[in-house]
Each structure stands twice: as structure tokens, then as C-alpha cells.
């Protein structure tokens, strides 16, 4: 395999990933979420001191700045909305192409399966990056226009960068689920159920830890859900373990996906 050949495959996968319903939905939703978050913040400023939350007026708890708008957009984006669309895109790229046999049509070409896997994952990573850039651009521009340029933008932008990494972890889980369930819905539901189970387990472990069992607390830090929340560190301080966990999650899921894909009959 040559460099130009690999590049052409990657470009072809990007074209499909962005062109599918899930692809342009991801970008559309990314823009919508960015704009909506800023508008909600603007509405909050408009209400101003009339609104009271927990005994404090809004301006006392919220700083109405551009970076705040950007950070609201990031939270909104990462709260199920974009993760679900990305899972859908991952399912469509893997499970969808297995189910409709279009993956077979690529595999009759002189290309190792590992290359197909890598090209598809990179294309999904590109979709994730594009969605983050769209949200950041829309929310950043609207935020700056409505609230001005003051504030520390860099910190929030680091949160966007970290979200790209956590998206990769999610994509890894989606790939693995796709190869197991071989249907788009199966892949999405599979990962969502897994994450719900993970959340329940983490809550239970935290409870146990609060009762004085410290190992439970250590264990929580290595659960997939914690790794996928690594992006939150931009606000509360980065957690190294979460990023290490993310790396393990990505390596583990893609490694298993490779082993599975290599043996799979794709008629």
C-alpha cells in the first residue's frame, strides 16, 4: 500500500461520512447547538436581576461573557446530542455497510481490512473535529458579537480539543458495537445501554467509596464513563487518569475491533 492510495481511501471515506444523513445532521446540529446556547445565555442576561436562582440573581452566578457562551455550547453539545449523532454515524459507517453489503464491495479491492478500519475511524474523527469547529465558530462568533471579546477563550477552546479526544473514545465503542450487532440501531442502543450501566456502576461505587471503601473510589476513576468525561477537566482541572483511561479505551476498542473484523465473514 502506498501513501497516495491510503490518502485516496481516507478521502473517499470522509466523503461518505460527511455525505450520509448522520454526517450532515452532525454538522447541522453542531451549528444549531452553538447558536441556541448563545441565545439562551443572552435571554438570561435580558432577564438579568429579575431571575433568582437559589436565592441569588443571575448576574451573581453567571458571568455574561463570550467564553461563557462558548462553554455553554460545549456542554450542550456534549450532553447526549452530538455523542448520539456520532454514534449513529459510526453505526452507519460500519454496521450499516455490513448490513447492506457495501463493505464487501470495498473488500474485493486489494486492501487489507486494517486499512479499511483505520480509514473509517479517521473519517469519523474528521466528522467529530468538523462538528467541534462548527460549534466553536458559531458560538464563538455569536458570543463575541453579543457579549464582547473579554474573558479567557483559550481555556474553553482546550475543552473543545479535549472533546475531540473523548469523541474518539465514543467512536471506538461504536465501532466495536457495530461489529458485534451489525445493525445501526443495535450499535447505538448497545453503546447507550453500556454507558447507562457504566453510570449506574459508577454511582454505586461512589456510594460504596463514601462509606469508607477507598478501592471503590480508585476503581471509579478507571471506568469508561470517567474517561469519556475527561473533557470536563477544562473547567475543574484536568484529570490525568481520565486521559490515560481514554487512551486505554481507544486502544482496547480498536484492537478488539481489528481482531473481530479480521475474522468476520463479510459475504
Amino acid at each position: 500500500m502506498t501513501g497516495p492510495h491510503l490518502l485516496r481511501i481516507y478521502v473517499a471515506e470522509c466523503r461518505k461520512t460527511l455525505g450520509r444523513g448522520s454526517g450532515w445532521t452532525a454538522l447541522g446540529v453542531a451549528a444549531g447547538v452553538g447558536l441556541l446556547s448563545v441565545l439562551v445565555l443572552a435571554a438570561g442576561r435580558h432577564l438579568g436581576s429579575q431571575a433568582v436562582v437559589n436565592g441569588a440573581t443571575l448576574p451573581e452566578v453567571i458571568r455574561f461573557t463570550g467564553p461563557t457562551a462558548l462553554s455553554w455550547a460545549l456542554h450542550a453539545r456534549n450532553f447526549y446530542v452530538l455523542p448520539l449523532v456520532l454514534l449513529w454515524a459510526t453505526g452507519a459507517s460500519f454496521a450499516g455497510e455490513i448490513a447492506d453489503h457495501t463493505l464487501r464491495e470495498a473488500l474485493v479491492r486489494p486492501v487489507p481490512r486494517a486499512v479499511v478500519l483505520a480509514a473509517k475511524v479517521l473519517a469519523l474523527a474528521t466528522l467529530s473535529a468538523a462538528s467541534l469547529i462548527v460549534t466553536a465558530t458559531v458560538a464563538g462568533a455569536a458570543g463575541a458579537a453579543l457579549f464582547g471579546l473579554e474573558g479567557t477563550w483559550g481555556t474553553v477552546l482546550a475543552g473543545f480539543a479535549a472533546s475531540w479526544l473523548t469523541d474518539l473514545g465514543l467512536i471506538g465503542l461504536g465501532v466495536l458495537a457495530s461489529l458485534w450487532f451489525r445493525s445501526v440501531a443495535g450499535a447505538v442502543v448497545g453503546v447507550v445501554l453500556m454507558l447507562m450501566a457504566d453510570l449506574a456502576a459508577r454511582l454505586a461505587l461512589k456510594l460504596v467509596a463514601a462509606l469508607g471503601f477507598e478501592t471503590a473510589g480508585t476503581l471509579v476513576r478507571w471506568m469508561p464513563g470517567e474517561a469519556l468525561a475527561a473533557w470536563e477537566g477544562y473547567a475543574d482541572g484536568w484529570v490525568g487518569a481520565a486521559f490515560v483511561g481514554l487512551l486505554v479505551l481507544l486502544g482496547g476498542t480498536l484492537g478488539l475491533a481489528f481482531l473481530r473484523l479480521r475474522r468476520l465473514d463479510l459475504p
Binding site: 473517499a12 457495501t102 464487501r104 464491495e105 473488500l107 479491492r109 475474522r263 465473514d265
Partner: protein, 308 residues
């Protein structure tokens, strides 16, 4: 990479594939010489598609070796191949051209998409979404995709399936042209006997996963010439059968159309048979030469397997 010119285009040795406890392809060996139009004939469920999938490395094999122009590596051997497996599949939401462009990217070498579209007569509809294609158009688009990058070996799974008579003829003409002009080798599966008879110079017959014949089509046809088959009808069937049983050099092989009797002639021409029957007082109402047809040989091969 230099390829040995005496290498067969495709060589399958001892291929076995099981689904659970069922052996679907068993110890199959096929040799396709370069430049051949080789038919792969077999009834439904014989294992033709399974064999093609194994050759392409889409499914694992339980035993056996496969080489294409001497290359055994599953990835490298696909370099010289263009293939259509079962019904070709496409990204429905993309245009025909975009689908071919994607395939060309995976192919990894220069491939003239427009030329391929032109060859199958789809150049005018290439911009339409595949969603809007008819079955025949999809079939032709699949063929165009297989032709991308000028492969040396075409593996085709029932390439005329679902085409109208004109479409069938166009595809057959195209395949003949490719073999004659570009020196392509074609290995095509089919259950249409007439197709293999009309198109191929060599045939492998598969039945329930096992090879039952592999020969030049002409040799297979010639072998039967001494044993001509005719269909005989008479007003009194009982009497006809009685007379046939008394005649030397003829053999009743079965029942033909409209209750007529199928007769194999060993040392007799149809005219001689007619005279002998009239002499025996049988009023012959019909005498239809059936000729040596691949269909008969094929059915014969498959039937003899049934008995064993």
C-alpha cells in the same frame, strides 16, 4: 511484479467451506487458463457464490489454496481482479459515478471511471442516484465497477441475472469483446445453461459443492454426438415402447415433452429409426432430434450425482 506467463489465471485447489456441520463446498479444484471464458455452472445452492467469496477472501476457507496469476496472498491476489458477487451493492444515496469513484479509490490505481461507464452504456445516467436505478442498470453498474482499472481476471456471479434479452446480449457481447480485444480472462457463474454454451469455451460443473465435470465445452458436446437423442411420439405409446425395446442400438432414456419418449441412438440415425418403427407397424406421429445439448449433459451430471 512479474507474473509467470504459464500460470493459470485462477487456480483453486482442494477448496472446502463448511457452514456449521454442513459442507457447502467440498474439495473443489478448478483451473482457469488465461484468456479463457470459463463457465461455472451449477443449480441453485450448489455453492457457486460461496466459491467466489472464498476466492475473493470475503469469507474464510476451511481448507484449500487459491492463487490468481500465481499470487496466493489474499490481498495481493485481488490486485488483478474485478468482481461482481451476487447482486452488486451500492451506496443508494450516491450517484452511480460517485460509487465508481469510491471503488476506484479503494483500487488504488488509475481507473477511468467514464470509460467504464461508457462500456456498459451508463454514461448518460451516471449522475443519477443509484436509488433511482432499475435492476438492469445496477447490474450494468456492477459490471462497470468490476472493469475499473482494467483487471486481468473478471469474476462474475450470474452477470446477466435479471436482465432483459437485449441486456443479456449486450453483456455477453461485451464479455466476448473484452476477452478478444483486451485478453481478459472471465470466470462466470451461471445456472443458465444456454449462456455457458453460447459464451464459454470451458466449463466447470458444480453440484452440491462438488465438481462433477471440468472440460472444454466443445469436447463435452462432441462426446455425445455418437449418442444422439431423439424424442419419438406415436399414437399407440405401448406399442412404440414395445417396438423400441425390440430394436438393437436404441435405448429409452426417459419421457420427453407431451408424453413423447426420449430415445438415445447408439448405432442408428433418426431416419433409420423412423424406417424401422414403420416396418414394425408403429404409426410415428413425431420424431424430434434433440441433439447433444449442454443442458442434457448438465442435467445428466447432476442426476448421476443424485443417484450416488
Amino acid at each position: 511484479m512479474i507474473q509467470d506467463p504459464v500460470c493459470p489465471a485462477l487456480e483453486v485447489r482442494g477448496l472446502t467451506r463448511r457452514y456449521g456441520s454442513r459442507t457447502v463446498v467440498e474439495d473443489l479444484s478448478i483451473r482457469v487458463e488465461a484468456g479463457d471464458l470459463h463457465g461455472f455452472l451449477g443449480p441453485n445452492g450448489a455453492g457457486k457464490t460461496t466459491t467466489l467469496r472464498c476466492i475473493l477472501g470475503l469469507i474464510h476457507v476451511d481448507a484449500g489454496e487459491i492463487s490468481i496469476f500465481g499470487e496466493t496472498d489474499p490481498v495481493a491476489r485481488r490486485r488483478t481482479v474485478g468482481a461482481v458477487v451476487e447482486t452488486p451493492r451500492f451506496h443508494e444515496w450516491m450517484s452511480g459515478r460517485a460509487n465508481l469513484e469510491e471503488s476506484a479509490a479503494y483500487l488504488g490505481r488509475e481507473a477511468d471511471v467514464d470509460d467504464a461507464l461508457h462500456r456498459v452504456g451508463l454514461q448518460d445516467r451516471a449522475g443519477d442516484l443509484v436509488k433511482a436505478y432499475s435492476h438492469g442498470m445496477r447490474q450494468r453498474l456492477g459490471l462497470a465497477r468490476a472493469l475499473l482499472g482494467r483487471p486481468r481476471l473478471l469474476l462474475l456471479d450470474e452477470p446477466t441475472g435479471g436482465l432483459d434479452p437485449r441486456g443479456m446480449r449486450e453483456v455477453r457481447d461485451l464479455l466476448r469483446l473484452l476477452v478478444r480485444q483486451d485478453g481478459l480472462t472471465v470466470f462466470l457463474s451461471s445456472h443458465l445453461l444456454a449462456e455457458v454454451e453460447a459464451l464459454c469455451n470451458r466449463v466447470s460443473i458444480l453440484d452440491r459443492g462438488r465438481l462433477v465435470a471440468q472440460e472444454d465445452v466443445s469436447v463435452l458436446l462432441e462426446r455425445q454426438v455418437t449418442d444422439e437423442v431423439v424424442e419419438v411420439g406415436a399414437e399407440d405409446c405401448g406399442r412404440l415402447r414395445q417396438a423400441l425395446a425390440d430394436l438393437p442400438g436404441v435405448e429409452i432414456t426417459g419421457t420427453g415433452e407431451a408424453g413423447r419418449t426420449l430415445v438415445a441412438l447408439h448405432q442408428m440415425t433418426p431416419a433409420e429409426l423412423n424406417r424401422s418403427l414403420l416396418a414394425a407397424g408403429v404409426a410415428v406421429s413425431a420424431l424430434v432430434p434433440k441433439g447433444p445439448r449442454l443442458e442434457d449433459l448438465y442435467l445428466e451430471s447432476v442426476r448421476s450425482e443424485d443417484r450416488s
